[in-house]
Amino acid sequence: MPYTPDKPVSPPSADELRARIPGWGADLDPADRPSFPKERFDPGATGAHWTEPERQGDDPRRERSIEHAHLTAVYGTAQPLHGVSGAIRRYAYARYSEGRAAHWLLLVLGDRVEATGAHVRSLFTTRPDNPITETGILAEPRLRPIASRRGRVDLRHAWIDPILVAGPWILGGWVALRMVRRVFVRRS
């Protein structure tokens, strides 16, 4: 049978839907939808009592996207750049626009370098990173671990997670052990 101008599967009538679904059609008129149209020029609607915002400051050390003309009026001051990861990230911001894959790949590299350094540094503090407590797996027994996972399609890749989390620790420990053994073998 050829396809026809009508929908092959007709929806229930408006009356049926109104009876079954609370509020059906309350925003049927696009004029009742707050983001219709998506862009609507209405500068008085925001509550701002300035024509342009005061500037938070102009910290020359604060990194910014080279797509910006200047440091934005307000900016986050959490976790300023530091160390090797900071140098990588600063280079990513200073050299590449957001349109370049290198920008993002360098930022990801910075993330991994910082995470590794933070783990190592934490070992010399009174509160070293604890992969048992910080991954939250101690809660497993209370969270119906077997019933919650039964028949799930994501089990096909769940095995990767422990490798991603524990793998670098095990690899790092193995490398450290090899180095220590090598030193002892040389001395003897």
Binding site: K7, G23, P53, A73, Y75, L107, A115, V153
Partner: protein, 381 residues
């Protein structure tokens, strides 16, 4: 103060941090009473979002009490209870003036493609978030709103992102009366998008996921027809069969970067970070919607490229709309719907956890254990 901090992929803990301080005349400091973990926080937790720094405090869904205000703040005073939209926005830039609050140009020094978001890495501006006892709230006269006395805390919290985002997503679908809407993902945003589709006159709402407990919630909360994609060989064929081989009129992607359903896509994106996100749901949307149909993307993706099927989108003449939701723009209408008893966003909450148990909360939500749909952090518990 106590705050959740990121310690690297899959690792978070609570630490003592310095209290936030007023850094701009229109800042406020808010003492957090409730904060939620969002599905998009999991992308940070899994190390998928570039420039997520060690020590960063996540959390862009929170309500609380004003502790202090800057010298230019006029609408709030200490003691006011406020709900804070996840967007940080100035109110007067080119984009804010046009209602695109999530695209504010004055708050994110690190990127121009994205506005400011609390606790969402330096890619979203480098602002610590609300999974803490206190948080800095910039542009206090623009973002936060005093919580109306009649509004429950749970409803207020769900309006700071999840429900407002789902409602916005349904609007971007440009739903006409009688349309068949398919929503990919039965998490909080998908549930809200499905529920909101009826408000806009959908004739049929279909929700696709692989977690049966979430599909049960979609039937109960959003009155949706549901299908577990794991039980079907091909989701696109399923959708065609359900719609007389035409395809849905509107598709909403409420999954984003860590979608399941294609092992290669998932591993190359969520696990190996070779893509900005796994576009499985988006590709199903492209192929499952009818020619000339609309796609609304609410799922969060990272800034790197993803393997999206644009050829099919072109050939089918699709309209794709997407954005981070301008949350505050949704509130007046959503307030009306809540007061009229049409919606109850707080019903999506399934778990409440003290801040000290944050690592366990993230693990539960990330691993989808104990039928978790929406976990809420109670810093004062």
């Amino acid at each position: 103060m106590k705050a959740m901090v990121y310690r690297g992929p899959y690792k978070v803990r609570v630490e003592e941090k310095p209290d936030p301080r007023i850094e701009h005349p229109n800042d406020a400091i808010v003492r957090v009473e409730l904060a939620a973990i969002c599905g998009s926080d999991l992308h940070l937790y899994h190390g998928m979002i570039p420039d997520t720094r060690i020590g960063h405090t996540f959390g862009h869904e929170f309500i609380g009490r004003v502790e202090a205000v800057g010298s230019s703040v006029q609408t709030l005073k200490p003691g006011d209870r406020v709900m804070v939209p996840f967007n940080i926005f100035c109110g007067t830039c080119f984009f804010c003036a046009r209602g695109l609050y999530s695209n504010c140009h004055n708050v994110n020094a690190n990127a121009t493609a994205l506005g400011g978001i609390y606790g969402y890495s330096h890619t979203a501006g480098g602002f610590d978030g609300g999974q803490a006892e206190m948080v800095r709230v910039p542009f206090a006269d623009v973002g936060p709103t005093i919580i109306p006395e009649w509004l429950s805390d749970d409803d207020a919290l769900m309006l700071t992102d999840a429900f407002a985002t789902g409602y916005f997503g349904a609007q971007l679908g440009d739903i006409s009366e009688g349309d068949t809407v398919v929503v990919f993902g039965a998490g909080p945003v998908g549930l809200a998008a499905a529920r909101s589709s009826w408000l806009m006159g959908a004739g049929r709402v279909i929700v696709i996921d692989h977690l049966d407990y979430r599909l049960a919630k979609a039937r109960e909360f959003a009155f949706a027809e549901t299908h577990n994609f794991a039980h079907h060989d091909d989701v696109v064929v399923l959708l065609k069969k359900l719609t007389g081989h035409l395809g849905a009129d509107v598709a909403i992607d409420a999954v984003g970067a860590e979608a399941d359903g294609n092992l290669t896509q998932h591993i190359t994106s969520a696990k190996l970070k070779l893509q900005g996100g796994s576009p499985i749901a988006l590709n199903w949307a492209i192929d499952g919607v009818r020619k000339g149909g609309n796609i609304s993307v609410m799922g969060a993706y990272g800034p790197l490229f993803s393997a999206v099927k644009f050829g099919d989108a072109l050939n089918k003449g699709l309209t794709l709309r997407m954005n981070q939701a301008p949350v505050k723009r949704q509130w007046p209408r959503l307030f009306e719907h809540i007061r009229a008893g049409l919606i109850s966003p707080g019903d999506m909450i399934t778990h409440r956890i003290p801040l000290d148990a944050i690592a366990e909360g993230y693990h539960m939500f990330s691993s989808k254990l104990d039928d978790c749909i929406k976990p809420v952090i109670v810093p004062g518990a």
